[in-house]
């Protein structure tokens, strides 16, 4: 089946986008990324040295995974724009996962700074993938300023609380004309499958894998969950009913 994820004209066979934060070791990370089958992985630009040997970026190069720099740790539009520009210079990519955080306790996005930064970066020629709250209005505004995807959260970063407002995610999916990536809050495989069943085009997760007891095993679980959820979405689920309906017909059965 030729069902690829397409973002800003680039296609990916895998609908699982990985983050790297919290990995216990470089070797564990490499094993997890390989098991996940991901083709796109996000890296915090404020927390890596692009030239370092044996570093995270080295691992991604070895695995042949496209790097999506992110602006984690930025609290204002100005900081995020600057970080994106430094990332473009260091990594020779126009792509950026835009993250503008409101406070350290919740790590929720600051919607006003986010929209401001998105606008500036789109104008500067970036392919912008914003990490946003699960607000359908904000998602629409981000799309309107020219973002290449919208990435609503399921629940706060690293919380593993899953998708707290599936209805909003459905509303975002319904209206979006760019890919919707469920970003943040995934705790286990069923959360990732649910995101895909709700119609998201991809799932982005990190902690659920990197802090699992066995990261590589959980990465494989996520890979299967994303594939299963996608297939279920394409297949079309049955309507929910209040009462039973026998799966084999009664009619025509002779007594």
């Amino acid at each position: 089946m030729d069902d690829v994820l397409s973002i800003a004209g680039e296609t990916f066979g895998s609908r699982l986008i990985m983050g790297t934060g919290g990995a216990p070791s470089m070797r564990a990370l490499e094993e997890a990324l390989t098991a996940s089958g991901t083709e796109l992985t996000t890296v915090a630009m404020r927390r890596v040295d692009p030239s370092a040997q044996g570093s995270l970026l080295d691992v991604l190069r070895t695995c042949g995974i496209k790097v999506l720099p992110n602006t984690a740790g930025c609290f204002t539009a100005g900081e995020a724009v600057l970080t994106a520009k430094l990332a473009r210079e260091a990594l020779q990519t126009n792509w950026v996962k835009l993250e503008v955080i409101a406070d350290e306790r919740t790590l929720l996005p600051d919607p006003i700074e986010l929209l401001d930064a998105a606008e500036q970066l789109v104008d500067a020629g970036f392919t912008v993938l914003p990490y946003t709250s699960d607000d359908p209005v904000l998602a629409r505004r981000l799309e309107q300023v020219g973002c290449a995807a919208v990435m609503p959260l399921g629940s706060p970063i690293g919380s593993g609380l899953g998708i707290r407002n599936p209805h909003n995610i459905e509303l975002i999916v319904e209206q979006a004309t760019v890919p919707v990536v469920l970003d943040a809050g995934i705790g286990t495989a069923s959360d990732a499958a649910l995101a895909m069943e709700l119609g998201c085009d991809a799932v982005l997760l990190a902690t659920a894998v990197t802090r699992a007891q066995s990261p590589a095993l959980m990465a494989a679980a996520m890979r299967h969950a994303v594939e299963a959820g996608r297939l279920a979405r394409l297949a079309g689920r049955i309507p929910k009913r209040r009462y039973a309906q026998a799966s084999s017909p009664w009619e025509g059965i002779s007594g």
């Binding site: 470089m26 564990a28 370092a52 040997q53």
Partner: protein
């Protein structure tokens, strides 16, 4: 024009705690040893807090490292008393337990999960309520939710330890050359020595690389022989307690998901650390790094702001691909490694010295060290 010095049995590149212990233990076995380092014990060994915490720092996927850490921790009392006897110096060694505390409910959940994992591996820790934590350590904030006591973990002062090791190396006739090694000398597919920055060569039957994160930067290394070691920056503060405000326990804390530790010394010094940053060879001390450490430490110990601030440093932990050390022979004859100890260099000092002394004299790693052969990556 290069001049040759008469060759020892072993030349060790790097005189941090790992190079020093290797030199001492090899010397005790009757090997002649030369250490090469422009600044002995000046990097990670100088910055490290010196926690001996294989149990408190247990991490999923690192079970083999726990075994090595426990072996080394259990070796410490005898190792220290031998070192202190030989040199007449003290090391600040303590083995009276580590208190690990949680700040909020999520942090307590993390410690509960850690305790289940520790128990599943048969290591002993004791769960404490917040009240019990404060009874042990009255300086703790009332908001501390609970904790774990690892009664057999401990700490040592790495600066005293390396000073004693340097003296002990002298006692066994080890030589220290204060120069930088620039190149490994390889002849007929065998390591035969190193060239120094001043052009001199030190030739030896065996070359041991113990240069931490700089181990891969040595010239002349055949490709693939030394697995990648990356620098992982850690910022560490040193404070000093005036009378009355003495921290009793070596305390680790989890504060809103991030880790912090405070290691008290007998003379009133408290070492507060540490950040963990993947920024290459950068050793800049940053406002943000210090702020995060002080913020978290203050949540656990409100009185910390009264202490005198004495020192701040950033060091580089040598991180191997799996965070475990690489000990013993490589694929290149004549070349051995004692590198990549990451966060556990001080803890693993005794076991590393023993393992390297054994493989340098017999060619065979002791059983406890066998899983840590550098060849596991090939």
């Amino acid at each position: 024009m290069s001049s040759e010095v008469p060759g020892p049995d072993v030349v060790i590149v790097g005189a941090g705690v790992i190079g020093l212990v290797t030199a001492w233990r090899a010397g005790l076995r009757g090997l002649s040893v030369t250490l090469v380092d422009p600044e002995p014990a000046a990097h990670a060994s100088h910055v490290a807090a010196g926690m001996l915490t294989p149990v408190s720092e247990l991490t999923y996927g690192e079970e083999p490292l726990l075994r090595l850490g426990l072996a080394s921790r259990d070796r410490y009392p005898e190792f220290v008393s031998e070192l202190e006897d030989v040199t007449g110096m003290t090391t600040g060694y303590r083995a009276d337990g580590i208190l690990q505390v949680a700040f909020d409910r999520d942090d307590l959940g993390f410690l509960e999960d850690l305790r289940r994992f520790q128990e599943s591996l048969g290591v002993r820790t004791e769960a404490l309520t917040g009240r019990e934590c404060r009874r042990l350590e009255p300086l703790l904030a009332p908001s501390v939710r609970g904790g774990l006591l690892a009664p057999d973990d401990g700490s040592i002062d790495p600066r005293r330890l390396t000073a004693a090791l340097l003296a002990a190396v002298g006692r066994v006739g080890g030589e220290l050359v204060r120069e930088r090694a620039t190149e490994l000398l390889v002849e007929r597919d065998t390591a035969v020595g190193v060239r120094l920055a001043n052009g001199d060569e030190v030739r030896a039957a065996t070359v041991v690389l113990a240069a931490g994160p700089w181990v891969c930067g040595l010239g002349g290394l055949p490709p693939g022989v030394v697995p990648q070691v990356r620098p992982v920056k850690g910022q560490v503060l040193r404070l000093r307690a005036r009378s009355g405000l003495r921290l009793r326990w070596c305390t680790r804390g989890v504060v809103r998901g991030s880790s912090v530790y405070l290691v008290p010394r007998a003379d009133g010094e408290i070492v507060l650390g540490a950040t963990q940053e993947e920024l290459g060879f950068d050793t800049t001390v940053t406002a943000g790094g210090l702020w995060e450490l002080l913020r978290d430490a203050r949540e656990l110990l409100p009185g910390i702001t009264e202490l005198e601030f004495t020192e701040v440093n950033a060091g580089l932990r040598p991180g191997s691909p799996d965070n475990a050390p690489m000990l013993g022979p490589t694929a290149l004859p004549g070349l051995q490694l004692a590198a990549g100890h990451f966060r556990h260099g001080i803890l693993l000092t005794p076991v590393t010295g023993d393992a390297l002394a054994e493989t340098l004299t017999t060619g065979v790693l002791p059983d406890v060290a066998k899983p840590f052969t550098p060849e596991r990556f090939s």
